[in-house]
């Protein structure tokens, strides 16, 4: 087998895929319907504790949960939105109160909360996030880390009015 031709083929395939991704990324926001609301994920609300307090960070920190909150339709960033976060970490189980905390989005609709390292539990290294303040429809997310060793995880909300 010719290694050079294999490389070229790989680059062609990779380049085409990258172009396709770019194209789809550019086209989606331009659709007439606008930005679609994020549906809740399966299992997202498991071990949810309503009313988790807003905290500087959860426990000793070392891991970053980040993300954004936007409005469905025009995709405008939503500032001051309360997002609750919990997970099975090096400092506790999902059901433990001290594993839960909340934070607010900034002027750009972005949030960022330090928490203990998430470790695999129930088969996957995953976190839980909730928007439940009532102004918009409640959404529960359950993002999965690509690698158990990752030190950050992100999740993005697009909310529709309640």
């Amino acid at each position: 087998m010719n290694i050079r031709s294999l490389t070229r083929r790989g680059m062609m395939a990779g380049g085409t895929a990258a172009l396709g991704l770019l194209g789809s990324g550019l086209i989606v926001p331009a659709r007439a319907k606008g930005v679609a609301p994020t549906p809740s994920m399966r299992g997202g609300s498991n071990n949810y504790r309503p009313g988790a307090p807003i905290v500087e960070r959860i426990g000793g920190g070392g891991f970053w949960m980040t993300g954004s909150v936007r409005r469905a339709g025009d995709g405008a960033p939503l500032a001051g939105q309360r997002i609750q976060i919990w997970a099975h970490t090096t400092e506790g189980h999902e059901r433990d109160w001290h594993s839960h905390g909340a934070t607010l989005t900034d002027a750009n609709g972005e949030f960022r909360l330090e928490m203990p390292q998430i470790v695999p539990a129930f088969g996957q290294p995953h976190g839980h996030l909730a928007y439940d303040s009532g102004e918009f429809k409640t959404v529960f997310l359950r993002p999965i880390m690509a690698n158990a060793g990752d030190t950050s995880l992100s999740a993005h909300f697009v909310l529709e009015p309640a």
């Binding site: 994920m41 399966r42 299992g43 997202g44 609300s45 498991n46 071990n47 099975h88 970490t89 090096t90 189980h93 999902e94 059901r95 470790v119 695999p120 539990a121 129930f122 088969g123 996957q124 290294p125 359950r142 158990a148």
Partner: protein
């Protein structure tokens, strides 16, 4: 033809001391290595005792699953024929208990995750396979209890029990290999392969599918 593991005659075969030692040594090594890795997983330091017990009960159940076809097929030296079948019954009971400890322990650790799994709405695909295997284990155990009452329908009994064994093995393997848990990856895949091979060996040797057409023609 050379007699090997795959084609040796079923009953009345002579097993050499070395051969017996190799079979038992290999089996015990596979079991110990699997359990050793699972019990030294770094994840254990962030889990409470009930969660650790529940997870390890799953590992034990998978290990017992390797023994089941070997025992009923009379493939373990010293435990052939009736003794193998008796041991198959005892291990079968232990398998049911390990499944119960696994599920109840996980339920106590995180009730909503187990409820999702039992209702087949879990976000994790391996949960569905685990629940399917669980029901097949219970079904195979109930059949084992009912065996004597089935009278002359033993052919049907064997097809059903073997069919459930196939579901248990497929379900358990698809459950275990997708989980990021306390089992170490290589030992987990080796154990899974051994289980599939053991079941395949016994089903093939017993020609269970031949019973299927025989029972249809009756």
């Amino acid at each position: 033809m050379r007699i090997s593991f795959w084609n040796r005659p079923e009953p009345g075969w002579q097993v050499s001391g070395l051969r017996a030692a190799l079979i038992w040594g290999g089996l015990i090594a596979a079991v110990l290595v699997t359990c050793w890795y699972a019990l030294s997983s770094p994840l254990l330091q962030w889990r409470d005792p009930i969660y650790i017990l529940a997870g390890f009960a799953g590992v034990v159940g998978m290990v017992l699953l390797l023994l089941q076809p070997l025992l009923v097929g009379g493939l373990l030296p010293g435990l052939e024929a009736l003794r193998g079948r008796r041991a198959h019954q005892v291990i079968g009971l232990a398998l049911v208990l390990s499944v119960l400890v696994h599920v109840i322990g996980l339920w106590m650790t995180s009730p909503p995750d187990v409820i999702d799994a039992l209702l087949f709405v879990s976000p994790t695909p391996f949960s569905d396979w685990g629940v399917i295997a669980m029901w097949a284990v219970f079904g195979a155990a109930v059949l084992a209890i009912l065996r004597r009452r089935m009278g002359s329908r033993l052919r049907l009994w064997r097809i059903a029990h073997t069919g459930l064994a196939v579901v248990i093995v497929i379900g358990t393997v698809l459950h275990a290999v997708q989980i990021q848990g306390t089992m170490e990856t290589v030992s987990k895949w080796v154990l899974a392969a051994l289980i599939v091979m053991a079941l395949g060996r016994v089903v093939a040797a017993r020609r269970v599918w031949a019973l299927l057409s025989a029972s249809k023609s009756r």
